[in-house]
Subunit: 323 residues, 2 copies
């Protein structure tokens, strides 16, 4: 394992964590967005994500328009996880000569369509040549009312764990795309579209935040277990996931896929994973497209999958790590 | 020439310019920073820059610490060009396995040193593996009082053109580094240090802005002629540069370099190039380390170098273009 592999992604980020922050910065490294106060009377949220060819995507499994859409969507998902509204984005691109103007225009159209759909103005950026691979770097700012903001940390002991959408759907879609399988059925179309054009859960995030329903929240970019592990680690608690309540992607005829593994460890869903007091169950269920999948416990060690027969299995993060 | 070469860097950026902006965005594509109002009572400035191995730098000509410093400095230079003060930065890195923890720690130290020296908190980021090259993506926000902000556009006809520092010094330093020449003398040390660790002109930018001395301003990242061309194009004016007033890097004994070409076209100086009414000459000279190099004229066609003997030569941008 390389030096950097030993450090890991979180270890590398920690190298740059300089300790405390000072005003006007409210929150630095360690949440979906950095928080700075205040832009036009609300807290300023700020996030940046990079997408690298052959690391985050392969040109043969994603078209230019979808890649454009997704590049912005994954940033908006960070704003959603804080209960915020996007304001504006900057795009930086490094482009190899193998990419032509047609590809670039389609990328642009997808990127701008995502901005228009989710009310995020694209107001600048930077571009350069790349020796060989496409690199996409996006930064987005948004705002959220100070009293409503969602964070990864909170008083969450004993709270329910909820997830929006269908965990693992994007991973299933990627498996279909990688194998080049086009079944034409509804289930595979849903999986492929979850992977290519994830929909940032901005409306859900805002609804949870405004109604003070969630006690912590993160977006699932690296897999349910890994992202839940981040919330648990930060708050020094454990978690139980109940297998029988966990929604799985629908099976696709003629395509064998480990659906439970997809749901637990598959990355790039960009759904919201959040905790809430048990008293909020009715209010949260009423929102729709959210499922209660387990509970937080300070007496639970790590993250445990409780099987239908009561058997307990500790889950370790197997989510995608780049190093 | 490739498709993208034909479009050029500015053409690619224009592809993403969606027309007007709406509140809270004040200014989008087309200046050193995007402007959004208001963070803590001042306008919010926002910039992003990427530095790509083998495009912007080569590992053999820049050490990790200098690269870290420079990665943040080039972003702070954009804040300086608007007369602003930095607030915070996000860093995203893509790292190949050839880079080890020692390199990364030195990079981090240089990056953080620049942040500490210029009062810019580093509050987050993102990291991923890279198949082969280092990619560095930095975004910085800052603030400037609304009434003082410096822009590229302005009423500048008949105004003087000023530049800080010594244009071409960084290019000369790069030539020394590329040739592997270490003369040990003061002039070459100054050139190398201008290239490796450019000092963002934040104090100068603020002073020009607060005293309302400059009518337009840009930082020189792509060469004097190219960056002056941006100001001229935006304001539909031409410019004369007077050769006898143009400061040149000091010659380095035993190293032949085209000093005038360095000064006119060499990139990465990260100095401020600004215009000002002729009535401000004394106030601006009093600041120090700034030189009046010519004048803006709506009747001048393009950018003209006026030689000592009065001969006029049209200058076309030969600054570094990546495509």
């Amino acid at each position: 394992m390389s030096d950097l592999g030993r450090l890991g992604e979180d270890g590398i980020i920690d190298l740059f964590a300089s300790g405390g922050v000072r005003p006007p910065v409210v929150k630095g490294i360690g949440d979906d967005c950095a928080v700075i106060g205040t832009l036009n009377g609300e807290l300023l949220l700020w996030t940046a994500d990079l997408l690298m060819e052959d690391v985050h995507f392969r040109m043969k499994t994603i078209d230019a328009g979808s890649l454009g859409f997704k590049s912005l969507a994954v940033n908006l998902s960070d704003i959603a996880a804080m209960g915020g509204s996007p304001v504006a984005g900057l795009l930086s691109l490094s482009l190899p000569s193998s990419v032509g103007e047609k590809w670039l225009r389609e990328f642009r159209d997808g990127f701008m369509r995502c901005g228009a759909e989710f009310d995020c103005q694209i107001i600048g950026g930077d571009t350069c040549a790349s020796p060989d691979r496409v690199g996409i770097y996006v930064t987005v700012i948004g705002t959220a009312p100070e009293e409503d903001i969602l964070m990864r940390s909170g008083q969450i002991d004993g709270h329910d764990i909820w997830i929006s959408g269908t965990p693992g759907l994007s991973d299933l879609g990627l498996r279909l795309l990688t194998e080049g399988i086009e079944t034409g059925d509804e289930n595979s179309a849903a999986a492929v579209s979850a992977h290519l054009t994830p929909q940032p859960r901005l409306a859900l995030g805002k609804r949870l935040a405004r109604a003070h329903l969630a006690s912590s929240c993160i977006d699932t970019s690296d897999g349910l277990v890994r992202d839940l592990g981040r919330i648990c680690g930060l708050n020094r608690v454990g978690a139980e996931i109940h297998e029988e309540t966990l929604p799985l992607p629908r099976a696709i005829g003629g395509f064998e896929a480990p659906l439970l593994e997809c749901a637990l460890h598959g990355g790039e869903d960009y759904q919201l994973l959040f905790t809430a007091p048990t008293g909020k169950r009715a209010d949260i269920s009423a929102i729709g497209d959210v499922t209660r999948i387990g509970s937080i416990g300070s007496d639970v060690d790590g993250i445990v999958l409780v099987r239908a027969d009561g058997e307990r299995e500790e889950l370790l993060p197997e989510g995608f790590s780049h190093f």
